[in-house]
Symmetry: C2
Subunit: 444 residues, 2 copies
């Protein structure tokens, strides 16, 4: 939400300090600190808080104070506060708003928080197509006295509120006074439906480099605008969610220090258990190769090295592909191009590590003593396994996000730990089978 | 860069198709497709391309066409194109600009691309503090005919171009005509120095919910503005870099499909080798426990399971902490709070996995046959190891980013694979030592 007046002034020193300390303060201390701020700082401070913090603070204030502060907020921000409040407090908060804003907030509350409708502000600048430029400017001047979200873009609506065109204020302002709005507007501007998800909205805004995006309902009637400053928060939030998923945990949906330990354990424990169950297959797979292990214990020494290299290669590939899919750089139909690239990269990377692995074993001081008389062959087995496993990691890591997307799931679920687990189990099999071929007749 | 007029119109169908196909086309095909676009679509299309693509396209056009298209760009975008062009082409491109823009572009080229100065546009709306509101509006009307970046905020400068205040256009517009600018402006607005890095700029803009941020030099003279739409790209870019680093690869700095295989191998091979060298220590550590392994081969079966669980726990912790540090939610001085939280979470998560591990081994059908007569003790060894290793993973994963930041390094280098590798080596030692205690006198 872009703010009215005060936002462009920097928060004073007291406000900055309070903001720094906020997470560490009890509710009582927060109220106390907030009341210490001089009036203009308090306003800037309050407006800059996250919706959840605003809701908590309001809940701790008296009814009169609550009304003053709640009314500082633009309708979309007020809607966020109502949404972040307890069920019981919501009715009371709505009752504190003036009638116009209450209606606007109630309308916004009907939208899902992550949809275009949930992000938009209903306070946009509007004119009619048959107004003259000077009439339009005078009309805007009256609108500007109310709390408009922005007058960067002026939207041109017909009698039924359908979006006909848009004109930037700069263009309107620079146009001859006696032209009509229709003559200076851009017709058929880009727009989004009210139920479009926020990730798509932010991609469109970023792609088209817009300062604001109009939101329309199914009948083409304009309902509000989403300004680019809200999109910064969305992009930030979505990136955080993706990063957390890629790290093999559920999205926290709150700052790290605000999440209780029990909640933290729940968010992480789920995935950790899933990964653990996946890893259990390594124990089962290992049991199959127990005879080989007993005969050539030296194979066990290089086991973590070999399978982790596959996991690392897989983590890299899946991370790169997931991000490319998220940014729209790679589409589902590109899987074949990606596969070919990953086969090439995987082979090159595998060969690199394989050569290193062989050299490490063969050139190790006293390798014969450490790894037995067949240390050369052991080196070869490790080297060839590395080629196969790194290649397999790259291919599996790159293809899994496509598979998940194809199944309608979130590609980001193919996290680094998830891919590593998958590759560990198969990597084991590659390792022991390659070893069986290379060492058959000597050690095995 | 927010665009002038045409940006608010949607790109036509042809333009959209060309954009989709762009990555797959040869330079010749790109020029051909571009020339097929109707004039207004071509302009929108050209402006929406990334700087690198604009540079490539311009290089393939004739001099006359090149001049036409280059002149469509605002000075900061033109500077990006010049920067993305070959050394040889730069002089020529600068010569194609009109004199005013050439000077502006040359000034921008002096800044590092990732600094505030490299992001800003010199075309901002400015007024004098002693102007009357109606004079200021008339003066802005003249400025609006030139190519201003935005008139959302009007900056109030003294005779030496020092930034005195700011007024939103909406406030100026809504103010009585005979007041002075000084009376309606907000004095001492937030600003950034020209050499501030873009990540800090974007955090400030996001935090203060601004539509634009003024940039000043060391003497307080205003040099330009950064608009929030540029920040969306920065936030997107920085998140991509972080995600790629967290996935254990160097930042690609280009779309996945645009990076050649050789380049890809270089970006990934470096880290993969580092991790490989780290993993070599597992082989060395394993050699220490060869006697134990030979006596209790059953320990090898659960080795991948146990050490991977530590790696996964470490990946989770490091990912969460790195993101929290990047977003400023957690500061360096919070390490002790984070440590206590991770000890609690790690213990809970370790116990969870430990109990699962014990049950898996003890309740497995024919566990005695599979794991020998001491299968109960083996189960306990695995269970206790899991508690220790998962705890250690969480603690090491959470503390490593702090350590890196403390050393002045990028915390994001504590990637999931990096932490997993670190925890693998130490996890091994924990596993064998716990096993030695639990199984001492029976198996070992």
């Amino acid at each position: 939400m872009s703010q009215v007046g005060p936002s462009i002034e920097s928060t004073g020193l007291l406000g900055e300090e309070l903001l720094e300390a906020w997470a560490f303060l009890s509710t009582g201390e927060r109220v106390e600190g907030f009341r210490l701020l001089p009036p203009d700082e308090a306003e800037e401070f309050f407006v800059s808080l996250a919706g959840r913090d605003q809701a908590d603070l309001l809940a701790a204030l008296g009814r009169a104070e609550r009304q003053i502060w709640l009314r500082q907020l633009a309708p979309d921000d007020a809607a966020d506060v109502v949404q972040a409040s307890s069920e019981a407090a919501r009715e009371d908060l709505l009752a504190l708003l003036d009638e116009v804003t209450r209606k606007e907030v109630a309308a916004l509350l009907a939208y899902a928080e992550d949809d275009a409708g949930g992000l938009m502000s209903p306070r946009f600048a509007r004119v009619r197509p048959d107004m003259r430029v000077d009439e339009a400017i005078a009309y805007l001047r009256r609108q500007a006295r109310e709390r408009l979200e922005t007058i960067y873009y002026i939207y041109v609506l017909d009698g039924e509120q359908r979006l006909l065109g848009v004109v930037s204020f700069r263009d309107l302002f620079g146009a001859p006074a006696d032209r009509t709005v229709r003559e200076v507007m851009q017709s058929d501007p880009i727009r989004v439906p009210e139920d479009l998800d926020q990730e798509s909205v932010s991609q469109l805004i970023a792609e088209h480099d817009l300062m604001a995006m109009p939101v329309v309902d199914a009948d083409g009637r304009m309902k509000g605008i989403i300004t680019v400053d809200d999109i910064v928060d969305v992009v930030q939030e979505e990136a955080t969610e993706d990063i957390q998923k890629l790290g093999g945990t559920a999205a926290l949906d709150a700052p790290y220090l605000d999440v209780g330990v029990a909640e933290m354990v729940r968010k992480r424990g789920g995935w950790l258990l899933v990964l653990f169950v996946g890893q259990l297959f390594t124990a089962t797979a290992m049991a199959h190769y127990e005879t080989e292990l007993a005969r050539a214990l030296v194979l066990a020494l290089f086991l973590p090295l070999v399978i982790s290299s596959g996991g690392n290669s897989g983590s890299q590939a899946s991370t790169l592909v997931i991000r490319a899919i998220t940014l729209g750089e790679v589409k589902l139909r590109d899987w074949w191009r990606v596969l070919r690239r990953e086969i090439a990269s995987g082979l090159a990377l595998g060969t690199l590590l394989g050569v290193f692995g062989v050299l490490r074993i063969v050139l190790w001081p006293s390798s014969e003593q450490a790894y037995g008389p067949h240390y050369g062959l052991v080196g070869l087995a490790v080297g060839f396994s590395l080629v196969g496993i790194v290649l397999w990691g790259a291919v599996a890591g790159a293809m899994l996000p496509f598979l998940l997307r194809r199944l309608g799931l979130d590609p980001a679920a193919a996290s680094a730990p998830f891919v590593a687990t998958l590759v560990d189990v198969t990597g084991l099999m590659i390792y022991f089978n390659v070893a069986a071929i290379v060492l058959g007749g000597t050690l095995l």
